[in-house]
């Protein structure tokens, strides 16, 4: 027998049990979110489904529960979303590409970076008041779709810039070097190599940002302040309302039926959100490229 002064207390059983314990614990943690979400969904579906009707989508708001709908709010939301996407995506991506690929690293770019990070954390009502002061009052646009979309653009720009920068950063440098070594200019390199690889990441960021925009009510209340709108905005300078405002209004009515209507409104809101995400996920998967890294 070989003499050894290494003594082990291997205790494999105990170590394995500890591993199992943590497995169960972590599983429980991850289920908390899922359970919360499903409870919410079940509650909303139970309250809202009976009130979900074509009236809800094709009627304008009304005092009479059986006639009340959210047509104006639905189209208002679609207007705000489209214009916000139109403004914020090019500006946000442009800013991110500049900061990531072109800007020299100095105190000015550092300053911009820190502030973009800070802006992402500013409460949304502050943006609402900012929009009210600048777009509605100073620029004299009035409480219109354009003012709402511009305010929303300011609100989600930091999110788009941050997420776009992350997806650009994730592009391996070896691709940049390969492009430059072939005689590409910086812009040719960015357009031909970096952007196509970063594109799926852009989409993810865009989904996040637009989801944020669709659910924001505080700044829209500040800008629009209106619920009872019985027309669809026909141009960017029309008055408008959006889904969260309509839902908020219904929830605060005393009659119980309006609460059900609000739940149905939330179902509509979630459906729009899911459709939007589905489109983005479809495009992301289509353009997803395999990478060596």
């Amino acid at each position: 027998m070989i003499e050894t002064n290494h003594t082990f207390n291997r205790n494999i059983k105990r170590r394995q049990n500890l591993g199992k314990l943590f497995y169960v614990l972590l599983l429980l943690f991850s289920l908390v979110g899922l359970i919360g979400l499903s409870a919410l969904l079940i509650q909303i579906l139970r309250d809202g489904l009976p009130y979900l009707s074509t009236n809800l989508i094709f009627n304008y708001p009304s005092r009479h529960i059986d006639q009340a709908g959210l047509k104006s709010a639905l189209f208002g939301t679609l207007w705000i979303l489209s214009l916000t996407a139109l403004f914020s995506l090019p500006i946000g991506m442009g800013a991110a590409i500049y900061l990531e690929e072109f800007a020299k690293k100095n105190w000015i770019t550092n300053f911009i970076e820190i502030n973009v990070g800070n802006l992402a954390g500013v409460p949304s009502i502050v943006y609402g008041l900012l929009g009210l002061t600048i777009f509605v009052e100073l620029m004299g646009l009035g409480r219109v779709v354009l003012a709402g979309a511009l305010t929303m653009t300011l609100l989600i720009l930091p999110i788009i810039i941050l997420s776009t920068r992350e997806s650009i950063k994730a592009v391996p440098n070896s691709y940049r070097e390969a492009a430059l070594a072939l005689g590409a200019t910086k812009w040719q390199m960015v357009k031909g190599v970096v952007l196509p690889i970063a594109f799926p990441g852009f989409l993810t960021g865009a989904i996040l940002a637009m989801s944020r925009a669709i659910g924001e009510s505080a700044p829209m209340i500040a800008i629009s302040a209106l619920v009872y709108i019985t027309f669809i905005p026909s141009h960017a300078m029309d008055r408008f309302t959006v889904l969260p405002i309509q839902i908020f209004n219904w929830v605060s009515r005393p009659q119980a039926e309006f609460t059900g209507l609000a739940a149905a409104g939330i179902i509509v809101l979630l459906t729009v959100l899911l459709l939007m995400n589905a489109v983005a996920v479809y495009f992301r998967n289509r353009y997803q490229v395999k990478s060596n890294e």
Binding site: S174, A178, A179, A181, Q188, V193, K290, N292
Partner: protein, 255 residues
């Protein structure tokens, strides 16, 4: 016929305050394979990256001295690095084909440089030169990353050749490959030197001995600054080096 294509005079490179390369003087001969060998950190790659101005991309890099190419100094401000890089191509250590199709990888350089002519023909020609055509001719639309490592590196060589460079710089092009793929790349390098002058950095001395016509030996001094010890016919460097440091290195007395 020993015409030089690159003439390097008093090349010095700093990264911030750190001198990486000191007083390099060398003539790179046209249509020959020149190997740069030496221990890690001796400035071989730095030297290579000076030739196509890739060091411009490193913010704190400072390059002094002349690199004459076609009678013009690459380091002068009159020359555009974009122009230089389209004439002096580069193949990297790790195969880095773009995550695009095989065809688009080779076509990329043609497109960005405004190639007038049949891109299809040129892609085929370049893939043939890189001895990859037979492997991929039926799947040009497939993603380049589905190829094996050796094929990927040959694709990178085809991509570089498509732009029709006069010089091809290779930074340890086979170090990430298995021995069989390495051999294929080495054969390719020997074949290609009839149309393009090649400068190759390698850690592998047998490789340098096998494929190069000329060899330059680099060393690193006590301040970690690289310098060139000697340069000459590969045969002579490996059998009859003039400097005893070269001899110690190639006989494996230190590395």
């Amino acid at each position: 016929m020993n015409e030089s294509i690159l003439n390097v005079k008093n090349l010095n490179v700093w990264y911030r305050d750190f001198q990486a390369l000191k007083d390099v003087n060398i003539d790179i001969l046209s249509n020959k394979v020149t190997a740069l060998i030496g221990p890690s950190g001796c400035g071989k790659s730095t030297m290579l990256r000076c030739i196509n101005r890739m060091n411009d991309l490193i913010p704190d890099a400072k390059v002094h001295g002349e690199i004459n190419f076609n009678g013009e100094n690459i380091n002068s401000n009159q020359l555009d690095p974009i122009d230089i890089r389209s004439k002096i191509g580069m193949v990297f250590q790790k195969p880095n084909p773009f995550p695009k199709s095989i065809f688009d990888n080779v076509a990329f350089g043609l497109r960005i440089n405004g190639f007038k002519g049949s891109i299809e023909d040129e892609v085929e020609k370049s893939l043939k030169k890189a001895a990859l055509w037979e492997d991929v001719k039926d799947r040009l639309k497939d993603g380049a990353l589905e190829l094996s490592g050796g094929q990927q590196q040959r694709l990178c060589i085809a991509r570089t050749l498509a732009v029709n460079p006069q010089v091809m710089l290779m930074d340890e092009p086979a170090s990430a490959l298995d021995p069989i793929a390495t051999l294929a790349i080495e054969e390719l390098i020997r074949d290609l030197c009839s149309e393009v002058s090649i400068v190759i950095v390698t850690h592998n001395m047998q490789q340098a001995a096998r494929i190069s016509h000329r060899t330059a030996f680099f060393m690193v001094d006590q301040d970690r600054c690289g310098y060139m010890v000697e340069e000459g016919e590969t045969n002579q460097i490996f059998t009859d080096p003039q400097d005893e440091r070269t001899e110690s290195y190639i006989t494996g007395r230190f590395s």
